[in-house]
C-alpha cells in the first residue's frame, strides 16, 4: 500500500506536471488578454478585439468540428468505401458569400473606431515626443517645458546581481505628467532611427520617424501611472527605453508645470555663471552616463568601428572647437547624432568631462569648455 502511494507521489513526471500546473495557476489570467485601458478609445478597441476573437472562435468550432468529425467517423475502418462527390457550385457559393458577409460585419465597427481615432483636433495640451537611441524626450509646447526620460532600472538588476524590482524595465527617472479629462495630443517624431511610442492603456501606438511628425491623442479618465514601451527595433537598447505617463488631477499638474518652469529658468541662469573644472566634470559624468555611455562605453573606449573610442582621440585631446561642432551637429553618415538639445551647461559639462577623463587631460591640451563657449558657437551660426 505505501509502495503504491510512494510511486504515485514521488514519480518524477508528477513533479513536472505540478510545476507546469503551478505556472499555469500562478499566472494572472487577466493579464493574458489585451488591456481594456483607461480611455474611451482603448475600451472601444478592446471591444473590437473581443468581437473578432469570438467570431473566430465560432468559425473555428464549426470548421474544426466538421474536420474532427470526419477524422473520427470517416476513417478507412469505419467507412471503407469513400464517397465520390468532388464539387458543388452551390456549396462553394455559400462558403464564399457567407464569409464575405461576416467580414463586412467586422469591417463596419472597425472602420468606425478607426475614424474616431483619426479625429485629431488640436489638443488642450500638445506634447512633442522625440525618440532617441535609447530614451525619450518630451516637450510641452504650450508651457515651454522639456526633459528627457531614461530607464531607471539598475544594470545590476538586468545582469541578475541583485533581485529585480516590481517595475523592472518599466520605470523611468522622469515621468510624463498629464492632467485627467483633458485632450492631450502627442506629436511623435525621432532624432536618429525609427522608434515607436506605445501605451497599451491608451491604445496609442505611433511610429516615431525621423523627418516625420505623427499625431495621436487621448483623454484619460482615471488618475494613475500608465506604462508603455518602444515597439520598433531601434538598436541594442531597444528593450531598455520604457515610457511612463502619470495622469493626475488638474491642480497637481499645474503645480508641477510651475515647478518645472522655475527649474528651467534657474538652469538658464547657470549659463552665465563662472564654472570651475571640478563642477563641470561632476555634472558631466552623470550626463555622460545617460547620453554617451551606451555607445562610447563608460570607459570611453567605444565599440569600434561603429562607435569610436574617445580615449586618446585627437579631437578630444586637442581640438575643442571640432568637438563642440560634432556634438552640436552630429556626424553625417555615421551613428553620431546631434546633441544640440542639451542645454549650454550640459553640453559644456559633458565635453569637459570627456576631455578630463581616462588620462585625456595629461595627453592633450587639457582645456575645459565652459557654457559661454557653447553660447558663442551658437551665435556664430546665426
Amino acid at each position: 500500500m505505501t509502495n503504491i502511494r510512494n510511486l504515485i507521489f514521488s514519480s518524477k513526471s508528477y513533479a513536472i506536471l505540478l510545476t507546469l500546473f503551478s505556472v499555469a495557476t500562478s499566472a494572472d489570467w487577466n493579464a493574458l488578454n489585451m488591456t481594456q485601458g483607461v480611455t474611451e478609445i482603448s475600451k472601444e478597441v478592446y471591444e473590437l478585439h473581443m468581437l473578432i476573437f469570438w467570431i473566430c472562435v465560432v468559425i473555428g468550432l464549426l470548421v474544426f468540428g466538421v474536420l474532427f468529425y470526419s477524422m473520427y467517423a470517416h476513417t478507412k475502418k469505419k467507412n471503407p468505401i469513400p464517397a465520390t462527390f468532388h464539387e458543388s457550385t452551390k456549396i462553394e457559393l455559400v462558403w464564399t458569400i457567407i464569409p464575405f458577409l461576416i467580414l463586412i460585419a467586422m469591417a463596419v465597427p472597425a472602420s468606425k473606431t478607426l475614424q474616431n481615432i483619426y479625429d485629431v483636433e488640436a489638443g488642450d495640451i500638445n506634447i512633442q515626443v522625440v525618440g532617441y537611441q535609447w530614451h525619450w524626450q518630451y516637450r510641452y509646447l504650450e508651457d515651454d517645458i522639456s526633459f528627457f526620460s531614461y530607464l531607471m532600472t539598475d544594470l545590476d538588476e538586468i545582469y541578475n546581481k541583485v533581485p529585480k524590482g516590481e517595475n523592472y524595465l518599466q520605470e523611468v527617472d522622469e515621468m510624463v505628467l498629464v492632467p485627467i479629462g483633458k485632450k492631450i495630443r502627442f506629436l511623435i517624431t525621432a532624432n536618429d532611427v525609427i522608434h515607436s511610442w506605445w501605451i497599451p492603456a491608451f491604445a496609442i501606438k505611433q511610429d516615431a520617424i525621423p523627418g516625420f511628425i505623427n499625431t495621436a491623442w487621448t483623454v484619460i479618465d482615471e488618475p494613475g501611472v500608465y506604462r508603455g514601451k518602444c515597439t520598433e527595433l531601434c538598436g541594442k537598447n531597444h528593450a531598455f527605453m520604457p515610457i511612463v505617463v502619470k495622469a493626475v488631477e488638474q491642480e497637481e499638474y499645474d503645480l508641477w508645470v510651475s515647478e518645472k518652469r522655475s527649474a528651467a529658468i534657474a538652469l538658464a541662469e547657470l549659463t552665465e555663471e563662472d564654472w570651475t573644472k571640478e563642477e563641470l566634470i561632476e555634472r558631466g559624468e552623470a550626463l555622460y552616463a545617460k547620453n554617451c555611455a551606451a555607445c562610447h562605453q563608460t570607459n570611453g573606449q567605444g565599440l569600434p568601428p561603429i562607435f569610436p573610442s574617445l580615449v586618446g582621440s585627437d579631437i578630444v585631446l586637442n581640438n575643442k572647437d571640432e568637438q563642440i561642432k560634432i556634438l552640436m551637429e552630429g556626424v553625417q553618415g555615421s551613428a553620431m547624432a546631434s546633441f544640440s538639445y542639451l542645454s549650454e551647461v550640459e553640453m559644456a559639462s559633458v565635453i569637459t568631462y570627456t576631455r578630463q577623463s581616462w588620462g585625456n587631460a595629461q595627453k592633450g591640451d587639457g582645456e575645459i569648455v565652459i557654457p559661454k563657449d557653447i553660447v558663442e558657437y551658437k551665435q556664430s551660426k546665426i
Partner: protein
C-alpha cells in the same frame, strides 16, 4: 492512366557521374532537387540553433547568455536564414523533384541554369554567415532591415548582407524562370492547364510572384547600398529622403513573399489530403481560383505591415479592407480540404498527420491574421509577440509542416524505401506538441504587452516565456530525429511499390520507386 517507356539500353550514358563531380556538374532535376533539400535542411538547423539562442536568453528575465547586440544579430540572421535559406529552397527542391515528374517532362527546361541557381546559394549564405565574424558583427536590424537603422546606423557588414541578398535574389529569379518555362512548355500532351496537379499550379503562381517581387527587393537593397557608400539620401530624412519609403518598398516585396512561402504548401497539402482520404480533391477549380486571387490580392495589401507609420485614414481603410478580403479565398481552401476528407476513407500515415495539423494550425494563424488586419486592434497587436505568434503559426506548422509532410509523402518515391512509420509518428507528435507549446503562449505575452525583438522583458511576462522556451527546445531537438529518419530511409528499409500509397493519384506514382535517374524521356499518354 499512362504508359511509361523505359530505355534501359541507353543506361551507359544516362546514369549519374561518380563522386563529387556528380553534384557539382549535375543538370539532373532530381539531383538538383536533392541538393536544394539538403541545403535547406542544413539552413533549417543553423537558423534553428539561432532561434534556440534567442529562446534560451528569454527563458528568464534579465540578461544571462548573450548581450543585446548579439541577440539582435541572432534574431536578424534567424529570420533571414529561415525565410531565404530554409523555407524557399525547400520548396524549390520539391519543385525540382516533382514538377517534371508530375507533368510528364524529362527534366527542367533549363538544366544548366538550374545548376547555377542552386550553386550560387551556398555562396550567398556563406557571405551572410561570415558577417558574424566581421568587425562590428553581423547585421543586427531585423530581417525587415528598416532604414535608417540598416543604413546610417548599421554595422559595416551590411554591405556583405546586401551582396548576399542580391545573390539569393538572382538564384530565386533563375529558379522561377525555370519553373515557368518548364510548366508552360513541357507538359505531356493532354495535360491542359486546368488538369495540372495543384502543386504544379501552386508553383506556377509562386514563380510569377517571385519574378515580380525579387527585383523590388534588389532595388531596396541597392538603394541602401547607395545611401551607405555613395552619399545618396533615399532613406535619410536629413538629406531630404524618406525612411517610410523604405518600408513601402520592402513590404511591396515582403507581402507577396509571405505567399511565396505558403502557396506551394497549399499544393502539397491538397495532394496529401486527397491521397489519404482516398477521395478526389473537392473543388479543384475553386482551389486554382483561390490561389490566383490570393496571389493577386497579395500585391495590394502590403501596407498592413505598417499601420502605425502614420498613413492617412483613407489608406488605412483601404489596406484593412483589402487584407480582410484575403480571408475569403483562404477560407475556400480550408473548406475544400475539409470537404475532401468528409465521407472519405481516411488513414493517418505520417504525411496525413502533418497535413491535418497543417489545416488546423494554419487556420489558427489565419484567424490571428484576420485579427491583426483590423487596424484599431492592430494598434495594440503591432510589433508585439501576438504578431510573432501569428506569423510563426503560419510559417512553422504551416510552411515547415507542409515541407515535412512532403518529405514523408514522396521520400519512398525518391529513395525506393519506406520510412519508419513508428519513428515518423514520434517525430510528428514531438513536433506538434513542441510547436504549440512554443508559439501558443506567445499570443498571451503579446496581448499582455510584450513587444517583439526584446532581449529582456518585464516580470509579468516571465511565466509564459519560460513555457515557450521549453517548447522551442522540444521542437528543435525533435528535428534531429527527423534527420535520423531521413538518413535511415536513404540507407534502406521496406521497399516501396511504384504506387506507394493506396490512394495515390498523379504521374509521379506511375514510375518505379526509386524513380529512375531519367523519367519520361518519352511523354506519357494521358487519357
Amino acid at each position: 492512366m499512362s504508359a511509361v517507356v523505359e530505355n534501359h539500353h541507353d543506361d551507359h550514358h544516362h546514369g549519374p557521374a561518380k563522386g563529387l563531380k556528380r553534384w557539382l556538374y549535375t543538370t539532373n532535376h532530381k539531383d538538383i532537387g536533392t541538393l536544394y533539400l539538403w541545403f535547406s535542411f542544413a539552413m533549417f538547423l543553423i537558423g534553428g540553433v539561432m532561434a534556440l539562442v534567442i529562446r534560451a536568453e528569454l527563458f528568464q528575465p534579465g540578461m544571462q547568455i548573450v548581450e543585446p547586440e548579439f541577440y539582435n544579430q541572432m534574431l536578424t540572421l534567424h529570420g533571414l536564414i529561415m525565410v531565404f535559406g530554409a523555407v524557399m529552397p525547400a520548396f524549390v527542391g520539391l519543385a525540382n523533384w516533382l514538377v517534371p515528374m508530375m507533368i510528364g517532362a524529362p527534366d527542367m527546361a533549363l538544366p544548366r541554369m538550374n545548376n547555377l541557381s542552386f550553386w550560387i546559394l551556398p555562396f550567398a549564405f556563406f557571405v551572410l554567415l561570415s558577417s558574424l565574424f566581421m568587425d562590428g558583427g553581423a547585421p543586427n536590424f531585423g530581417w525587415t532591415f528598416y532604414a535608417p537603422l540598416s543604413t546610417t546606423y548599421a554595422p559595416p557588414s551590411t554591405t556583405f548582407f546586401i551582396f548576399s541578398v542580391h545573390i539569393m535574389g538572382a538564384s530565386s529569379i533563375m529558379g522561377s524562370i525555370n519553373v515557368i518555362v518548364t510548366i508552360m512548355n513541357m507538359r505531356a500532351p493532354g495535360i491542359t492547364l486546368m488538369k495540372m496537379p495543384l502543386f504544379v499550379w501552386a508553383w506556377l503562381i509562386t514563380a510569377y510572384l517571385l519574378i515580380a517581387v525579387m527585383p523590388v527587393l534588389a532595388g531596396a537593397v541597392t538603394m541602401m547600398l547607395m545611401d551607405i557608400h555613395f552619399g545618396t539620401s533615399f532613406f535619410n530624412a536629413a538629406g531630404g529622403g524618406d525612411p517610410v519609403l523604405f518600408q513601402h518598398i520592402f513590404w511591396f516585396f515582403g507581402h507577396p513573399e509571405v505567399y511565396i512561402m505558403i502557396l506551394p504548401a497549399f499544393g502539397i497539402v491538397s495532394h496529401i489530403v486527397e491521397t489519404f482520404s482516398r477521395k478526389q480533391l473537392f473543388g479543384y477549380s475553386s482551389m486554382v481560383w483561390a490561389m490566383l486571387s490570393i496571389a493577386i490580392l497579395s500585391f495590394v495589401v502590403w501596407a498592413h505591415h505598417m499601420f502605425t507609420v502614420g498613413m492617412p485614414l483613407a489608406a488605412e481603410l483601404f489596406f484593412m479592407w483589402a487584407t480582410m478580403l484575403i480571408a475569403v479565398p483562404t477560407g475556400v481552401k480550408v473548406f475544400n480540404w475539409v470537404a475532401t476528407m468528409f465521407k472519405g476513407s481516411i488513414t493517418f500515415e505520417v504525411p496525413m498527420l502533418f497535413a491535418c495539423a497543417f489545416i488546423v494550425l494554419f487556420t489558427l494563424g489565419g484567424f490571428s491574421g484576420l485579427m491583426v488586419a483590423i487596424v484599431p486592434a492592430d494598434f495594440q497587436y503591432h510589433d508585439t509577440y501576438f504578431v510573432v505568434a501569428h506569423f510563426h503559426y503560419v510559417l512553422v506548422p504551416g510552411s515547415v509542416f507542409s515541407i515535412m509532410a512532403a518529405v514523408y509523402f514522396w521520400i519512398p518515391k525518391w529513395t525506393g524505401n519506406m520510412y519508419d512509420e513508428r519513428l515518423g509518428r514520434l517525430h510528428f507528435w514531438l513536433s506538434f506538441i513542441g510547436v504549440n507549446v512554443t508559439f501558443f503562449p506567445q499570443h498571451f505575452i503579446g496581448l499582455a504587452g510584450m513587444p517583439r525583438r526584446y532581449p529582456d522583458y518585464a516580470l509579468q511576462f516571465a511565466d509564459w516565456n519560460m513555457v515557450s522556451s521549453v517548447g522551442a527546445f522540444l521542437f528543435g531537438f525533435s528535428q534531429i530525429l527527423f534527420l535520423f529518419i531521413v538518413l535511415k530511409t536513404v540507407m534502406g528499409g521496406k521497399k516501396a511499390t511504384s504506387e506507394v500509397w493506396e490512394g495515390a493519384r498523379g504521374l509521379e506514382w506511375t514510375v518505379e520507386s526509386p524513380a529512375p535517374y531519367h523519367t519520361f524521356t518519352v511523354p506519357p499518354k494521358i487519357n
